[in-house]
Point group: C2
Chain length 259, copies 2
């Protein structure tokens, strides 16, 4: 395996930093290649703007079209090109982050916005009566697997089906389906550590063991069965799930998972 | 009204920039006071880190506790203090942004992470058998109203109940419930413009008219009836919605809206 870990925590000694380090040592110890994008250590520029696109930036900036032109003409900044190259090198991508305000940290969101340019992360493939671009199961990153490894401050019950924060699977859906599956990656079930702030040294060995088990079974873990866009489940171009699919009366994110 | 508009788009001439300008002129024209935090124009620092907390930053950074100590001791950076003051000044807060990768832009997420410190945005109030902190309907920003004004690239059907992107209300839930309602603000229904990239000059007057109507009725618009945390609907400390509340068999974000 060739694994890219994209890590987003400002404190190296945090639980997130420790889980990242454990992932590196565990995967390398099993003979795999690992590369790490430690966004805080890299002083990653979080906000996408015209400076990202060099001469491809229009006087009136258009983030989508200008990013696509910069990608096509090789004028993206070196930091963004390096991340795109890492993604193309990898067969497995792990996002390691704390859940802050119910989603990923800004620095990681900015990595997505700057690296997943038009013609790379989106705006790929043809549009026709039966095909609405290469996305949601197809795209530049098809053939790769991705996984979210996330820590939360709240208890597991707070993120349960009836928990006040909303179910963790729904909170992660825009990331897992909208960011990782969108450009073609298969997405493995997330690794979640709740109540990270309360974790004691006595608790850590169990967390570490569970994390290592996930890491060492990445190749055999079944991905979340998201529905592929262009294979008959959706009306095109309305992109509605066809009637009769999904549990009757059901709505929401869960509809887009088969079975 | 005293309205704070937090604006997150790098191009002043974008639809988002135009909607922000229209909000300013419309509200001021009606005699209201308006302040704008134009995050790109301010070159807002998006990534939270130890530099935000000055001498309150621990050698081993703890974002929650250190931000709370910096808040308590007045050592937050001037840019963050200014935003907290604007929030306390305002009775109405509008977030204006494009939906990028199914949520807010990184620069706006970084505004939340840096400004909503512990003891200001969270970590407020007592914990007891009947009260789990001042949050979800109570908190520092109680008594204020907030609204999301968002543009999307996809069509309305893509964000409908069965649309492949997921329902727009569910995509906005972590923002509306998890960021705005959490510190106590009432949240008005969002103003959403779909297919922003395809909007023509001929389409714009209808959008402008709809936006102005929303702006001029902010004070009389009913907020989304999110369930308040500490008033009997939730088990404490599991924070699960009590049995019998919400439609039978229902799960997910919608449970946390009454009726």
């Amino acid at each position: 395996m060739k694994t890219l870990i994209v890590h987003a925590h400002p404190e190296p000694l945090s639980l997130n930093g420790t889980l990242k380090d454990l992932a590196v040592s565990t995967l390398e110890g099993a003979g795999h290649e690992v590369r790490v994008s430690d966004l805080y250590a890299m002083n990653w520029k979080a906000a996408v703007d015209a400076a990202d696109y060099g001469p491809a930036a229009s006087p009136r900036l258009n983030v989508a079209l200008d990013s696509g032109r910069a990608f096509d003409t090789g004028t993206l900044t070196a930091d963004v090109r390096a991340e795109q190259e890492k993604l193309l090198w990898a067969d497995t991508v792990i996002l390691q982050f704390p859940l802050w305000w119910f989603t990923m940290p800004a620095i990681l969101k900015g990595w997505v916005e700057r690296v997943f340019t038009y013609h790379f992360g989106y705006g790929v493939g043809e549009h026709s009566d039966t095909h609405y671009g290469d996305r949601f199961g197809e795209g530049t990153l098809a053939g790769r697997r991705a996984m979210v490894s996330v820590t939360t401050g709240g208890g597991e019950s707070h993120f349960s089906a009836r928990g006040i924060n909303g179910p963790i699977d729904d909170l992660l859906f825009p990331i897992q389906h909208g960011i990782l599956y969108y450009p073609g990656m298969e997405v493995l079930p997330p690794f979640v550590v709740h109540r990270a702030d309360r974790l004691t040294e006595e608790d850590f060995p169990d967390v570490a063991k569970a994390w290592q088990e996930r890491l060492l079974t990445l190749e055999s873990t079944e991905p979340i069965p998201f529905r592929r866009q262009n294979f008959g489940d959706y009306e095109i171009p309305s992109m509605r799930l066809k009637e009769g699919l999904g549990a009757p009366g059901r709505s929401g994110f869960g509809l887009h998972v088969r079975g």
